[in-house]
Amino acid sequence: MSASPVRTTYREAVREAIRDAMRRDPRVFLMGEDVGKYGGAYAVSKGLLAEFGPERIRDTPLSESAFVGAGIGAAIGGTRPIVEVMTVNFSLLALDQIVNNAATLRHMSGGQVSVPLVIRMATGAGRQLAAQHAHSLEGWLAHIPGIRIVAPATLEDARGMLWTALEDPDPVLVFEHQTLYNMEGELAPDAGAVDIDRAAIRRAGSDVSLITYGASLFKALTAADTLATEGVQCEVIDLRTLRPLDMNTLLESVRKTRRVVVVDEGWRSGSLSAEIVTRIAESAFYDLDAPPARVCSAEVPIPYPKHLEDAAVPQPHAIVAAVRALMPAPVAR
């Protein structure tokens, strides 16, 4: 088999992850709105119905609470369902099932019931879908004990996180940023399962720690390149897991660089970035050389026009400005 990497897209990597899981374990099946005949709202499951049949690629009626709850019941009942909620915006209709059942049953039953369920959701803005289709609510769900939250940004993670999530005996929510599906890149032909416990340093640097996840990762990397031309070396960290947070990796980096900027597409108030900055202030206060900073979405319903949508969500120039504000006055270094 050719060892050279394969040219592919984030979407195809996710599809391959589903196909691989379904081939490896008969208990695994996919359930969600338009995942079968229609091939998936983002065409992730195109072709899977033909390969696996309607029993295992199940189109659901538009009843998020029922089919997410059914996913929970089926997982308790011995199968390994992958429930696709078209976007996080629709997950609000299933929040009761996710929070009151999936996240709670194990603890509340004294450990007698576990829910080995995976729920995949698209998230984030950037496609001019306007406020009701542009939410970034993963931070909400990262607040809930009893579930795990992961955010694959790279092709390797899109391909590798699903299997590990399926093997986890507790519910795992996978957030795929909708602007990433078309992202092209290279993937090893034998790319397989990856861990879902640790953050990853995507770019090493010594001056400031840029902590982010999902689609914002690539905006942070762009910003880091710009800053490098001004002699500022950014360390870009991809969270990969939003709950639990891999604080060891974050703190180690912040203790080295002494400066931190968190980039989070959620709204600032009560966001995931607020939690990360708080934990850094609690554990690395005496290592900070400048106040921690955040770049988040403007606190507005995401507007439809492109120029407004772009202005509302974090952009590379905002990240660069945030970093510059933390650096000492320009002097020959």
Partner: protein, 329 residues
């Protein structure tokens, strides 16, 4: 059934209903004295439904119930002392004392809980049936809920999904005419529940929920249907709760006369008329049940509080045992 086994069966049904009645009465007393806290919803008056349906279910069938689930738990075989300890919040309780009255769980008898969210259990029951169908297992999931749940969106979504995918789930609606304080006519445009169920293309029947023998027969038919056709079934049990919705309820929404009227058809009276069980037998059964309940209270009172350092236990599966439970790779 031969006459003797029939008499024995009637004694068994009476005793099961008595266990529920005395257990719930004791809970009311313990709640007033402050031993049981939080919310408490009593099943007094509806005993025939749980006891009747449980006769039709086998051990590997699953049950999903509501916050008024003490009767279902006892009839399903969860021990009275474990249940009472759960009422007290002791760690010897069936859910380690963490769930309390509204969250009774027992993996051994596939009792997947009370649920404090009205209709919250329906989608889960549908999912359990989905797994059975998917894994080709001939089992039934019995889903108990009240007339209040019928107005929830999840009722519609679950009924539709179950009928659409032809799943082996038995929906049992305990229609006690009141959703907390709202009488059914003031909540549902279509209060005829079987008619509503049939619109989903589902077989639907109704039964007198005060007559345990009638409930048992109806349940046996329903369970057989679900098990052998692997399709859903809707059974309405018309019943009545003699007590308030919960302990803190002035019952302004119904008048005393209606309660007295229904009390004439107390499930015990109905069964004794049908079975001829006399006062002597009733008295001895009652005595045995009262001692069982007293022992359960003693067990609960001597129970222990879960240590604070166990607070986060079971939020997630502990790494060692659940550690990435290997899927077939």
């Amino acid at each position: 059934m031969t006459p003797q086994t029939e008499i024995d069966h009637f004694h068994y049904l009476l005793r099961e209903m008595l266990r529920i009645r005395r257990f719930e009465e004791k809970c009311a007393e313990l709640y007033s004295a402050g031993h049981i806290r939080g919310f408490l919803h009593l099943y007094i008056g509806e005993e025939a439904v749980a006891v009747g349906v449980m006769q039709a279910l086998s051990l590997d069938d699953a049950i999903v119930a509501t916050y008024r689930e003490h009767g279902h738990a006892l009839a399903r075989g969860i021990r009275a002392d474990a249940l009472m300890a759960e009422m007290f919040g002791k760690q010897e309780g069936c859910s380690r004392g963490r769930g309390g009255s509204m969250h009774v769980f027992d993996a051994a008898t596939r009792f997947y809980g009370g649920n404090a969210i009205v209709a919250g259990g329906l989608p889960v029951a549908v999912g359990l049936a989905l797994a059975d169908k998917y894994l080709a297992r001939q089992r039934v999931t019995a889903c108990f809920f009240g007339d209040g749940a019928v107005a929830e969106g999840e009722f519609h979504e679950s009924m539709n999904l179950a009928a659409l995918w032809q799943l082996p789930v038995l929906f049992i609606c305990e229609n006690n005419l009141y959703a907390m304080g709202t009488r059914i006519e003031r909540a549902l445009a279509q209060p005829d529940l079987p008619a509503k169920a049939r619109t989903y293309g589902m077989v639907a029947e109704t039964v007198d929920g005060m007559d345990v023998i009638a409930v048992e027969q109806a349940a046996r038919i329903a369970v057989a249907h679900v098990k052998f056709t692997a399709t859903p079934y809707f059974l309405e049990a018309r019943t009545y709760r003699f007590r308030a919705h919960s302990m803190f309820d002035a019952e302004l929404y119904r008048d005393k006369a209606e309660v007295e009227e229904w009390k004439k058809r107390d499930p015990f009276a109905v069964l004794r008329r049908h079975s001829g069980i006399g006062d002597v037998d009733f008295g001895s059964l009652d005595a045995a049940v009262l001692s069982e309940i007293a022992a359960a209270v003693a067990f609960a009172e001597s129970g222990t509080w879960e240590p604070i350092d166990q607070l986060t236990r079971d939020v997630y599966t502990p790494p060692q045992d659940g550690n990435r439970e290997r899927l077939a790779s």
